[in-house]
């Protein structure tokens, strides 16, 4: 049963600079932030290490931090430039009964995160959903396709309305001849 | 070989047990009720169609703000000081003409979030659940008691009243400037 600080110490000792820091003030749970392209190695370590044993990924959620600055793109829609997307991994160890949250933030222009699919199989669909709704690319994911939105959503939508959960999302006018706005 | 006979015996025995139970159910009376003739008595906290008691409504817009699907539209017009709008049942003096109070029951999700914040408890849920329509627009219920012309007339009064007030204010603003001029 390890507290968040010991886990952070172990990770810091193991990976050095790719662990960016621990954030304890914001309420309810301390969050360890990790460099997006090292997340695969860190997760493999988190799972294999004998006194960590995080064998079940509870939830993987992509969040649009919307911390860029607002500008207008070519055809006048208001979009957010810069800023980050972050992906939170809530991990839990069934055997040792401790929990930790890992945060990874990538830039908004070309969001790339290492996929943890072959460490925890349940991440497969969570990552596909994060890609589908937010547009975060997960490198070497077996089949990164849309999962919830219709498959041909890209043909009918402009750049701004491609991923619905982005803060600057705008409804497309028509989808296959059907009027989208209610 | 033993497994073979056990399977046959289990096969026959469990089928007969199942049949005994269904045979027993052949004679138990039906549990279902004949809906249109026999109606189920609904509990009094039932949440079906909303009803707004318009003479209690003070047009405070609390319910339309609380509604998650925003299916309540209210438009009000301020009353001129002279007019008397009557008093709500719990003694509050009404100050706004409610010209439009529409609830769109096609969008309403019957979550009862609008009933709690209402100060005069004029919006509450009845237990009527058979109000299906052929045309979706008929599901938009208009609760406002003012007819079209009255609403127009109230609006005109109010505009006229604000125009007069504007004029007086302008005049008042103009007057002190003269005083300053006169004073300086």
């Amino acid at each position: 049963m390890k507290s968040a600080d010991d886990i952070f110490e172990i990770l810091k000792k193991e990976f050095g600079d790719s662990i960016l820091g621990i954030d304890k003030e914001t309420p309810t749970e301390p969050i360890i932030s990790v460099d997006p392209l090292q997340v695969y190695k860190v997760s493999k370590f988190l799972r294999e290490n004998s006194d960590l044993q995080f064998d079940s990924l509870m939830c993987l959620s992509g969040v649009d931090d919307a911390n860029g600055n607002k500008t207008n793109n070519a055809d006048g829609d208001e979009i957010i430039e810069g800023g980050t997307f972050s992906v939170y991994y809530n991990l839990h160890s069934v055997s040792l009964k401790h929990k930790i949250t890992i945060k990874v933030s990538t830039s908004r222009s070309e969001p790339k995160v290492e996929s943890v699919e072959n460490i925890w199989k349940s991440a497969n669909w969570h990552e596909r959903e994060a890609f589908d709704l937010l547009g975060i690319f997960f490198l070497n994911h077996p089949d990164l396709r849309r999962i919830l939105m219709p498959y041909d959503w890209d043909e009918y939508t402009t750049e701004v309305s491609r991923h619905p959960l982005r803060k600057d999302y705008k409804n497309p006018e028509f989808y296959q001849g059907m009027k989208v706005p209610y | 070989m033993k497994e073979y006979f056990r399977n046959t015996w289990l096969g026959i025995y469990t089928v007969l047990v199942g049949m005994k139970i269904t045979f027993k159910h052949l004679f138990t009376p039906a549990v279902t009720i004949q809906y249109p003739e026999v109606k189920l008595k609904l509990p009094e906290r039932e949440r079906n169609r909303l009803y707004v008691n318009m003479d209690d409504c003070i047009g405070c817009d609390q319910c339309s703000r609380a509604c998650p699907v925003s299916c309540i539209e209210i438009e009000t017009v301020k009353s001129i000081p002279g007019e008397d709008l009557g008093v709500t049942s719990n003694g509050k003096k009404k100050a706004l003409w409610v010209t439009k109070f529409n609830i769109d029951f096609a969008k309403c999700c019957y979550c009862q979030l609008c009933v709690f914040p209402c100060p005069t408890e004029c919006i509450y849920m009845t237990d009527i659940f058979e109000f299906s329509e052929y045309d979706r627009n008929n599901l938009v219920y208009k609760f406002a008691t003012l007819s079209e012309e009255e609403a127009q007339e109230k609006k005109l009064n109010f505009e006229k009243f604000t125009a007069e007030k504007e004029a007086q204010k302008a005049a008042a603003a103009a007057k002190p400037k003269d005083d300053q001029k006169t004073a300086s």
């Binding site: 939830c59 069934v94 | 998650p68």
Partner: protein, 371 residues
Amino acid sequence: MALKTEHMVLNMGPQHPSTHGVLRLELEIEGELVRKVTPHLGYLHRCFEKHAEAMQYNQVVPYTDRLDYLASISNNLGYALAVEKLMGIEVPERVEYIRVIMSELQRIASHLVAIGSNGADIGALTPFLYLFRDREHILSIIEETCGARMLYNYIWVGGLSHDIHPDFVRKTKEFCNYFKPTIVELDNLLSYNKIFIERTANIGVLPVDTAINFGASGPTLRGSGIKFDLRRDDPYSIYDRFDFEIPVGKGLMGTVGDCWDRYYVRIREMEQSLRIIEQAIDHIPDGDVQSAIPKRIKPPKGTVYKRVENPRGELGYFIVSDGSVNPFRVKVRAPSFVNLEVLGELCKGYLVADIIAILGSIDIVLGEVDR
């Protein structure tokens, strides 16, 4: 020269009598043997997460009802606990007791639908109607308390929308005594029926490591023999005060972790829920259920992940709040969404008829899968 054979792609499409909602399974079959199953989702996607970002905290509760519409009380409970943990609200005892009783009643009602439709998929239509007759009792008890039969909007952040109805306690006790013999009847009619056993034993065996690796939870995980129940291992509200054991698949009729085990775990779980209700029903303290409800819910800036034992598994809410009145991001970890991933692994090499039995035993609800 080998005969060139091609797999026939059978489309168990969104409109099919036994896919528990609008799920499309693309089966690659060879004769009757299924080689590959690829589920296609998204037919019931109603953008719950986008809606939640535009609503205030208390307005999201009716939306959470519609996630897993067969167990809406535990959806509300999960969301309410998450926001309460974020704001650090302490809820009075009476609310805790009523929440436990209500979510256990809801668990029984949801298991009744799960077992009924699992039996109907395999062909036994009569138990389905008997179980719905029993479920009617629970729905009328809840309807008397909060006015709605399925989508309650009952558990709010910090309390409840209505206090329990005066004869709620009497009716629940009546239901407990009424329900015990019907479980025995169901056992004889379906559980030990040779044809039902033949159709479900040794079918869709979920080994332990794939279960944990795929993050399966709830009866699907416990069917494979792992004693993991959030009410016991990660206790929330006041579950640690009641003693109940966690039924686990033991492979009575075949290997551990087959369809029959998952089905049987659900029946024993219903009995355990009855035990919890009987322990809780007599000690409901009095008090005001709406005392701890904050006038204006404005949680501090931060994130929270709270999980609850929904009848289908581990339902988790990950809420990011930026200090304003509207939640910044609400992510729902739906148990059916994760359990459905196991289906691809589970269905290799079985017959078309088994796919239906396996899908019925995993018990998914598409409202929760597609959000």
